[in-house]
Amino acid sequence: MLLREVEYARPASVQEALRLLGSNDGARALAGGQTLINVMKARAASPDVLVDLADLGELRGIELGSDGTLEIGAMTTYTDIVESAEARARPILGEVCNQIADVQVRNRGTIGGNVCSNDPTNHLPPLLVAVGATMTILGQGGERSVPAQEFFLGVYMTAAGPGELLTKISVPPGKSDGFASVPIGRDGTCIVNVAASLDGGTPRLVIGCVDAVPVALMPDSVEEDAVRASVRGANLDPPADVHATADYRRHLAEVLALRAVALAAGRN
């Protein structure tokens, strides 16, 4: 399949990248390309200019702060996270990244691209909401921080608007996390996924694949009845497709919520 004609730039600085993104309405950031290049083949999107972030070293890498906060550059690949000693400070991150697709996709796909594409079936949007991550967005007007819960606005839409870049994702310390999913195939696209985190008092449950954005719930406790009640109380209206009916997705959401909570509780 051929892509429509496109221009390509590989800026050497973040400022330069912002200038390129800001000077053309049809410009798009290119991270790992593991979504964008397919979207361009299908011509579901045909950007005029691709601004490749590959040379922006300051967007890549993982740092563990003295307070235990992990700062992960947007261009950090899943493989980088899986192999990082620092990232083990929050073990769920590497564990979930290691379930995304396959070696080739993990070698190219980035944490920033995963959340900026906000495909409702992606692994990282619900996970990053559950762990209470904060996104740093840089635009011509300066830098701002957005809690993960407010970052996801709709299918393929996030708080990082046109002309802006997600630069890094900060993840607070913690370890009582769980992630449960029913994927298509062993490490494939999720039919439903649920991330749970019990750090910081109230349990947090975040369900993916059932709505345009991750659905965040706060059950009263980690008891089975409370978890079931909270998922039922969300009145989920998930999509139906060739993989699952809406009813089956609702059922999975409840079962996977219990599993994710049990996994998280096992790590207290």
């Binding site: 399949m1 051929l2 892509l3 429509r4 004609e5 496109v6 221009e7 390509y8 730039a9 590989r10 800026p11 050497a12 330069e16 390129l20 053309n24 410009a27 390309g33 593991q34 290049i37 397919n38 361009m40 083949k41 200019v49 691709l50 601004v51 490749d52 590959a54 697709a101 396959d102 070696v103 080739q104 996709v105 070698n107 190219r108 062993r186 490490d187």
Partner: protein
């Protein structure tokens, strides 16, 4: 640097230098197959799902239909053509032959590159690790059993 719709790139493919002008929209697999004439790497799906187009870029296993040729500027690329030397199959290729790890052979170039990447990182992978290592490569013929056997046998 401003945006351009084509540019001249230099790549090292299997130890040989190539300099070519490419359109920005050109996929790396098309560059390798059609511009350089190295047709060992296959196109199975064109959507990043089958792995037949897998190559190593600066030692990193990628699907070359999911990358633009301009992104590989300056890179060292390894394709299936680089495995044999002087007409002799390398150990991994010989193991595929010995274990009947292919039928139609369409997936084989990608499988060999994924196995090459795996064995460089992990000299004696378990069956589980082998299966995880070739998960991005689909084979419609063999049922994978003999591919796993061949990779196990090739591990030094």
């Amino acid at each position: 640097m401003d945006a351009v719709s084509s540019r001249t790139i230099t790549v090292d493919v299997n130890g040989e230098q190539y300099e070519r002008e490419v359109e920005a929209r050109r996929l790396l697999i098309h560059f390798i197959r059609d511009d350089l004439g190295l047709t060992g790497s296959h196109i199975g799906c064109d959507t990043g799902n089958c792995g037949a187009c897998s190559v190593l870029v600066d030692g990193v296993l990628v699907k070359s239909c999911m990358m633009l040729a301009v992104q590989a500027d300056g890179a060292k690329i390894e394709t299936v053509e680089g495995l044999a030397s002087e007409g002799e199959l390398n150990g991994l290729q010989q193991a595929f032959s010995d274990h009947h790890a292919l039928q139609c052979g369409y997936c084989t170039p990608g499988m060999l590159m994924s196995a090459t990447a795996l064995l460089r990182q992990n000299a004696s992978p378990s069956e589980e690790e082998i299966r995880k290592g070739i998960q991005g490569n689909i084979c419609r013929c063999t049922g994978y059993v003999n591919i796993v056997e061949a990779i196990k046998a090739a591990a030094p």
